[in-house]
C-alpha cells in the first residue's frame, strides 16, 4: 500500500467517521508509547496474561482469515478490540467469525473490519456484527460520507441492527 493510500485510511461506524486511537504494530516493543495497539494474533497470544491485563494501554488483536479464533474465546472479556481481516473483499471467512464472536460468544469489545472494505459489503459487515470498518476505497469513502450504504428496506435473515419484521420468523427490518 502506498503512503498516499495509507493517509486516506479512515475509521467508520454506524454513527459516522471517527478517530482511531489504535496503531498497528508487530509487537508491544515496536509500538512505542502508543496508548492503543493492535497486535497480530501470534504476538497477542504470546503475551503473558498478566502483562496484558495490567498494561496501561489497550491491546487489540488482528486475526487473518486463515487463523482460528478459538484461542481467543476464553479471554474475550479482556480484549478491547478484535480486527478481522479482509485481504480481498471476496474472502468471506471473517463474516462467519464476526457472527460467532458477537452472536454466539457475546464479545462486547470493538469488532473491526480491516482490509478490502467496499461499499457493497458495508451492510453485510454491520449485520454480521462489525462495529467499525477501516476504509480506504475512494468510492466507499464517498458513499459513506453521503450515508448511502446500499441498504435494502428489509432483510431475510436475523442480523445485528435489525428487529423482527412482524411477518415470517426469518425476516427483519432495520432499526434506526
Amino acid at each position: 500500500m502506498s503512503a498516499a493510500e495509507q493517509n486516506q485510511k479512515q475509521l467508520w461506524g454506524r454513527e459516522g467517521f471517527r478517530d482511531d486511537p489504535y496503531i498497528e504494530a508487530e509487537s508491544l516493543d515496536a509500538a512505542g508509547d502508543a496508548p492503543a495497539v493492535i497486535l497480530p494474533l501470534a504476538a497477542w497470544l504470546g503475551l503473558d496474561d498478566d502483562v496484558r491485563r495490567t498494561s496501561n494501554r489497550r491491546i487489540g488483536v488482528a486475526v487473518a482469515p486463515g487463523e482460528d479464533i478459538d484461542p481467543l474465546l476464553e479471554k474475550l472479556d479482556t480484549i478491547p478490540l478484535i480486527a478481522l481481516q479482509f485481504p480481498a473483499f471476496n474472502d468471506g471467512r471473517s463474516y462467519s467469525k464476526a457472527e460467532l464472536l458477537k452472536g454466539r460468544h457475546g464479545f462486547s469489545g470493538e469488532l473491526r473490519a480491516v482490509g478490502d472494505v467496499l461499499i457493497d459489503q458495508v451492510v453485510f459487515m454491520l449485520r454480521a456484527g462489525f462495529d467499525t470498518l477501516q476504509v480506504t476505497n475512494r468510492i466507499a469513502l464517498e458513499r459513506l460520507k453521503g450515508r448511502d450504504l446500499h441498504d435494502t428496506p428489509g432483510y431475510y435473515q436475523p442480523g445485528r441492527g435489525s428487529a423482527q419484521a412482524g411477518s415470517y420468523s426469518w425476516r427483519r427490518m432495520p432499526v434506526a
Binding site: 468471506g92 463474516y95 428496506p153 431475510y156 436475523p158 415470517y168
Partner: protein, 556 residues
C-alpha cells in the same frame, strides 16, 4: 405458487435501483470493468464471448403464465427473439445490451422475478423436482422449503462470499428427478414413522472437474430445523472450505479432504449451538408458505379417460406423444405434460418469444396457470386434464413444441458451449444437433427407449455429462475439438458418475461413436425392457469399449 408481499417487492425494487446506479456508473466510465464485475455478477450479468449474458432466476423452476409471457416479451424486446432454459431451471438471455439490463430487471420485478444470486460465490437459485406438487409418487411438495431457502439465502450477510458457488436442490419423492446427489446440499423431503415431515440431508455432491456423489449426513432432519442446519453446513464450509484453488473450493472437496465422519461431527456441533436459535422455523410460518403451493382445486374430469383412448386410437402422433411426454398426476383425471424443447436437430433448451407466449396461453387455459422449467431443459405443464390433452397437443404442434421425445435419446442436455461461453473448449450445441438428427426417426428412438445423453463443452460440466447415461465432454487438444465419452452415469436416486471409455473422438467421429454404443446396447440387451443404463450396469464397459476401439482395448 408463491406471491410476493410488500416486503419482497420493496426488497427487489431497492436492488434494481442500486444496480441501475451501478450500470450508469459503468457506462459513464466511473467504474472500470474490473470494478463493475463483482457488482454485475451479484445481479446475474456475465460477460460472455460475444456479449453480456443475463441469467434470470426461476426459483425451483416454477413460473406463472404471466411470468412466462414476460420472459417472451423480454426475449423479443431486448434480445434476438429467444431465450435459453438452463440445467438449473433458469433462463438466460444471450444478447442483451448492458444499458438495457436495468430496464429488463424492472420488467422482471413487475412479475415478481429477479436475477439475484444466479452467479457469484453465494447460495444460488434453489432447484426442485420439476413435477413437484403433482407427481403421483410424491410424499410432499418440496417447493415451500425451496421458497423458504430462497428468502433466507437472499443477500445473506454471512454467506455472500463463500469459497465458491453453492447449489441446493430439494425433492419430495423417492424417485429423484432433481439430481439432489450432485448438489452441494441435496434435501430429500420425506415422512418418518410418526408421519412427520423431515429431510434426508446430502452434502458434497457436484460435477465439474472432480465429480462426486453427495454423502448422506443425516437421515431425518425435522423440517423446522431446515434453516439452522443449513446455516451450520454453510458456516463450516465458509470457514474451512479451500480458497487457495478455485477448482478445489467446492464443498465436495472439503467433504473429501476432511472425511465425511469428521465433517458431519463439525456440522452437528455447530448445529447444536444453532438449533434453538431464531432460525428455528415456527410451524405457522411453514404452513403459511406451504399454503401458497397448495394444489389448485381440480375439477373432476372423468370423461377424459374415454376421450383420451379415442383420440389416441385416431391419431398415432398424438398417441406417441402421450406415451412419451405425459406422466401420471396425483389426480387420475389429469396428466403432467412435458413440453420438449428438443426438436429434432434443434438447440436444446432454446425457446422463441412466440413459443414462450404460446406455452403461457396454454398454461393459463389448460394447466391452472402454472409452468415448470426442468433441469433437463424442457418445460412442464403440471396439471392438464386428460380430456384436454388432445387440444393441448394440437396447440403445441402449431409452433414445433410437440416433439414426442421426453427421456429418449434425442432429449439431450447440452451446455451453450463454445458458441457462447467464455469458458468452453469445444462446441456442444452442434454435436447435440447432429446426434438428434442421426437418431431422429420416431421408430428408432422408441426402439432404443430411455437414454439420457448429456453434453458439456468443457470440464466445468454445465451439461452434466458425468451423469449422462452417455456423457460427452468436449475438450481442446492441439487446437482441435475432441470429444470424450463416458458411460453409465446417472443422477437419480442411484447416482453414479459415468466411466470414461478411452481416447476421445473428433467432431466428425463422435456421432458414429455414439451410434456404435447404441447398436452395441441394442445387440446385448436382455429384452426391450432392459434400459441402456440397466444393461450397462449388468455387462459393464467392456463390450462398449470393444465396439469403440476394437480388440486393442482388451489387450491394453
Amino acid at each position: 405458487m408463491y406471491r410476493y408481499d410488500e416486503f419482497d417487492h420493496a426488497f427487489v425494487a431497492a436492488r434494481v435501483e442500486q444496480f441501475k446506479d451501478q450500470v450508469q456508473r459503468r457506462l459513464s466510465g466511473e467504474l472500470t470493468e474490473e470494478q463493475f464485475r463483482p457488482l454485475r455478477l451479484m445481479n446475474g450479468v456475465y460477460l460472455q464471448l460475444h456479449a453480456y449474458m443475463l441469467r434470470v432466476a426461476v426459483p425451483y423452476g416454477t413460473l406463472s403464465s404471466r411470468q412466462m409471457r414476460k420472459l417472451g416479451h423480454i426475449a423479443r424486446t431486448y434480445d434476438r427473439g429467444y431465450g435459453h432454459f438452463t440445467t438449473r431451471q433458469n433462463i438466460q438471455y444471450n444478447w442483451p445490451a448492458l444499458g438495457d439490463i436495468p430496464a429488463i430487471l424492472d420488467e422482471l420485478a413487475e412479475v415478481e422475478m429477479h436475477a439475484m444470486q444466479t452467479s457469484g460465490n453465494c447460495i444460488r437459485n434453489v432447484t426442485a423436482d420439476h413435477f413437484a406438487g403433482v407427481a403421483a409418487d410424491e410424499v410432499a411438495d418440496p417447493r415451500p422449503f425451496g421458497e423458504i431457502l430462497r428468502q433466507w439465502s437472499s443477500l445473506h450477510p454471512e454467506f455472500s462470499y463463500l469459497p465458491r458457488k453453492f447449489k441446493i436442490s430439494v425433492t419430495g419423492a423417492e424417485h429423484d428427478r432433481a439430481a439432489i446427489q450432485v448438489h452441494d446440499i441435496g434435501l430429500h423431503l420425506k415422512k418418518n414413522e410418526a408421519g412427520e415431515l423431515g429431510f434426508a440431508v446430502y452434502v458434497g455432491g457436484g460435477q465439474g472437474r472432480t465429480p462426486m456423489v453427495a454423502k448422506m449426513i443425516r437421515d431425518f432432519l425435522p423440517v423446522e430445523d431446515l434453516l439452522s442446519y443449513t446455516t451450520a453446513i454453510v458456516r463450516v464450509y465458509n470457514l474451512h472450505g479451500r480458497r487457495d484453488n478455485k477448482y478445489k473450493a467446492r464443498i465436495k472437496i472439503l467433504v473429501h479432504e476432511t472425511g465425511t465422519e469428521e465433517l458431519t461431527r463439525q456440522i452437528e456441533a455447530e448445529w447444536q449451538a444453532l438449533k434453538e436459535s431464531d432460525l428455528k422455523l415456527p410451524q405457522g410460518d411453514i404452513a403459511a408458505i406451504d399454503s401458497y403451493f397448495r394444489p389448485p382445486a381440480l375439477l373432476a374430469r372423468p370423461e377424459g379417460w374415454a376421450a383420451l383412448a379415442a383420440a389416441k386410437k385416431a391419431d398415432a402422433g398424438f398417441a406417441a406423444w402421450v406415451d412419451q411426454n405425459v406422466t401420471p398426476h396425483k389426480n387420475p383425471d389429469y396428466g403432467v405434460v412435458t413440453i420438449s424443447l428438443k426438436p429434432i436437430g434443434g438447440i436444446p433448451g432454446d425457446a422463441s418469444a412466440e413459443q414462450m407466449e404460446l406455452v403461457a396461453d396454454i398454461a393459463e387455459k389448460f394447466s391452472q396457470d402454472e409452468i415448470r422449467v426442468s433441469h433437463e431443459q424442457n418445460l412442464v405443464l403440471p396439471s392438464v386434464a386428460l380430456a384436454d390433452l388432445h387440444m393441448v397437443y394440437e396447440l403445441l404442434l402449431t409452433d414445433g413444441l410437440a416433439t414426442a421425445n421426453a427421456g429418449l435419446i434425442t432429449d439431450i442436455i447440452a451446455c451453450p458451449g463454445l458458441d457462447y461461453c467464455a469458458l468452453a473448449n469445444a462446441r456442444s450445441i452442434p454435436v447435440a444437433q447432429r446426434i438428434s438428427v442421426r437418431f431422429g426417426a420416431a421408430e428408432r428412438q422408441s426402439e432404443i427407449g430411455e437414454l439420457k445423453i448429456k453434453i458439456s463443452g468443457c470440464i466445468n460440466a454445465c451439461g452434466h455429462h458425468h451423469v449422462g447415461h452417455i456423457g460427452i465432454l468436449g475438450v481442446e487438444k492441439k487446437g482441435e475439438e475432441l470429444y470424450q465419452i463416458t458411460l453409465g452415469g446417472s443422477a437419480d436416486e442411484i447416482t453414479t458418475v459415468g466411466e470414461i471409455t478411452g481416447r476421445g473422438f473428433s467432431s466428425e467421429e463422435v456421432v458414429d461413436a455414439i451410434e456404435k454404443i447404441v447398436d452395441t446396447y441394442l445387440g446385448l440387451r436382455a429384452s426391450k425392457d432392459e434400459t441402456f443404463l440397466a444393461a450397462y450396469r449388468r455387462v459393464g464397459a467392456a463390450p462398449f469399449k470393444e465396439a469403440l476401439y476394437g480388440e486393442i482395448s482388451r489387450a491394453a
